[in-house]
Amino acid sequence: MNVVTNNKWIGQRTIRPDGMDKVTGRAQFAADTTMPGMIWGKILRSPHPHARIKSIDTSKAEKLPGVKAVVTSKDIVDFPIEKGAVMLGIQDMRWMCRNVMARDKALFPGHPIAAVAATTEAIAAEACNLIEVDYDVLPWAIEIDDALKPDAAILHEFNKFDGKPSNIVGRLEHKKGDIAEGFKQADIVIERTFTTRPVHQGYIEPHACLISVAADGKTTIWSSSQGQFMVRAMTSMLTGIRQSDIRAIPAEIGGGFGGKTIVYLEPVATLLAKKSGRPVKMVMTREEVMRATGPTSGSKSTVKIGATKDGKIVAAHGTFYLQAGAFPGSPIRGAAGCSFAPYDIPNLLSEGFDVCSNRSKVAAYRAPGAPIGAYAVECVMDEVAEALKMDPLDFRLKNAAKQGTKAAHGPVFPRIGYIETVEAAKASPHYAAPLGDGNGKLRGRGVASGFWFNAGGESSAQVNITEDGNVVVTTGHPDIGGSRAGIANICAELLGIDYRRVSVIIGDTQTVGFSNLTGGSRVLFASSMVVTQSTEKIIQTLRERAAKIWEIDPEAVKWENGAAHPVSPNAGQFEPLTLEQLAEKAPAMGGPIGAGVQLNTQGADGGFGTHVCDVEVDVDLGIARVIRYTAVQDVGRAIHPGYVEGQLQGGVAQGIGWALNEEYIYTKEGKVDNPGFLDYRMPVCSDLPMIDCIMVEIPNPKHPQGVKGVGEVPLVPVMAAVANAIYNALGKRFYALPMSPPKVLEKLDEPLREAAE
């Protein structure tokens, strides 16, 4: 494949196809539609962190005037545990069926117990209160340490670890060389233990859906998700309705960050709609989002790194315990696999442990697991560099992974851009700038790197030339951050026409071929592959049509600047035939012009980033603020630089929140105590500085435009970069997140306390 050079649209900051609707309030998100005869669904949720459900009596609720349907777990298709895993992507349907509606046990406060559909939201809520549930309340465990105690409450009694019932539900390891031997060669070894709190993806749009089921079973789902095909498949599996009967329409999605890669409401609303014969709308409240949808894991990690005096890492060992929540499936693969990937380490052991506990089931969050692992590793890297008296970026350069490095998680790296990100960070104006005077506040600078796998996978596209000679591209991936803009740039580039003539839409499940989730930073990588191949087919057709009209060989026709031309004067003297002219002549020349391509795309290269962060700490108030930030990333090829920068800036902002403020806080009763935006403190505009981006472009040779995924890497290094900067400011290291004002003050008081003791 040739990398397109000398571009007109690729690399331009064009206006996104869906932009106009979004700045005028016209765009339709999940909660923005209605249907005739629509009623409202509500969910009754468990108040207990852990309880056996002895009985559910819905009779009073059913009798309430206005109630049209009630469902419980009896209505959801069961995937019995003993029959073994039934996987849909990375999700085991045994856990999904129990997550959308508790079966024998409620496993977290907020776990759905039953659902009601009624003519108004108020009646549905009232009916939920009339449902009588007899619970046998059980002991519970939320924090990892509690869940691992020998006498801990066990969530899933069938699960054994080391032969005993356990909350450890999974383990993986990546190994290279021999760490015992490696550590013997080390002149300096540093080992530290870190904890992080669960944090929520924090999308501003709560989960919502509107679903109608006709008497013949034909089902229409309107919802926002990171995959209409995932919605269709999961709803089909949990309701028993055939996939061919479910049309899942992707609404505009108001943020997901991984959290909308599974379903919560759709199967329940489908069953309510089926029972009631009416379209059912369900919209979560913010509180429901915070209590019952995926945050990412809280964690406990221990990282040990050994290096020689001259700064070569000889061995490293990481153990990462991640909270899965109620069901198995925490992102240990990201933590164990990504965190050491920037480095060429001869002896390495990286282990991940998946730990169940009584909180909501985790969902993917931007580079799932990788930021947790990188936080621990990159903080230890900083300490080792300091002990060696090396500049932290030089230390990274000395140990950087490059082409040919065998990564512990499997691959031998192809040409990668990690070194370039470190060099660019080193050469950045930011790294050269003095920290400046904090006016009584303490300032510090930190750096950190990060890696994410990136993904390919299934994608489908259909490209059609309209009768008036313009272009409609249909793909199957919800556009979560501007992918339609990138696709328009690419298609316009290939066809040699103005990008405004290309309309890009996201098809529903019954109008475009299967396309896997919007996740893994795969959308622009994969969809531009299928769009490129479709467009190339169209160009071939256009050349053939022109050849037919000119009565010459198709090989003698070239496509340039939106028109067919003879390749040379020898081929004949003809006026160019434009896309419009060929479209007009299409009926007489062989019919409509269009092409579709479906692929399981391969060749996604991993992504690397290196960040530089300056903080300022108010030692009286304990407030740490990020005052300058630079994110450097190898982005492959920035098809639309504005939205690539947007990914970097958005990821950094989320990481700053994770580092400084965000955390789930629990009551003594095991319930989330801060289920709203006031107390779950995400960064607001006045908390942040501008976020500078340096896009390093090392094109992916396996992609027609050189694209690499960019969406997830930017969250990976952030917490460590902030933590290292705070250390640099205060001379004290934090081993736990968030570094919120009370924790900073506590740390600053330490010498006083020690002196007093």
Binding site: Q28, I204, G254, Q649, F677, I691
Partner: protein, 158 residues
């Protein structure tokens, strides 16, 4: 409960609607009035996705009762463009990629417009503090702040 009849002005149009006494303005806008450009991110006044103006004052429509609009003037995102002519802020948001998912965009634009009406020459800090009630989880605010500053500069030059 009997519904309440409300007469108000919405985006310059005299409007009548019926609502429950405890409906919020956001409920009324998104429900009977069909103006779904204002979004509900929290229903507690913490995200700003529901921002509107009430007699030119920026408010969270989720914190206001629908009946309180009686006799007042409401403006929403749907009233920001003049026909097919975008407001300069809308245009600048598009040009500068100041939106990703777009769920916060209506609220950001309404709030930014209210700022520039009050203060046509805001500093970066003033923009950041004014918009501190509007959460955006996608953009890190960088491009939003730049778009507001640049629009302000262009509007001043005209």
């Amino acid at each position: 409960m009997a519904k309440v009849h409300v007469t108000t002005l919405i985006n310059g149009e005299p409007t009548e609607f019926l609502c429950e006494p405890n409906d919020t303005m956001l409920d009324a806008l998104r429900g009977p009035l069909g103006l779904t450009g204002s979004k509900e991110g929290c229903a507690s006044g913490d995200c700003g996705a529901c921002s509107i103006t009430l007699d030119d004052r920026l408010v969270c429509s989720c914190l206001m009762l629908a009946v309180e609009s009686e006799g007042h003037e409401i403006r929403t995102i749907e009233g920001m463009a003049q026909g097919d002519r975008l407001h300069p802020l809308q245009q600048k948001f598009l040009e500068m990629a100041a939106l990703q998912c777009g769920i916060c965009t209506s609220g950001m634009l309404v709030a930014s417009d209210a700022l520039l009406k009050k203060n046509p020459d805001p500093t970066e800090e003033e923009v950041r503090f004014w918009l501190a009630g509007n959460l955006c989880r996608c953009t890190g605010y960088d491009k939003i702040v730049r778009a507001v500053m640049e629009t302000a500069a262009e509007m001043r030059a005209q």
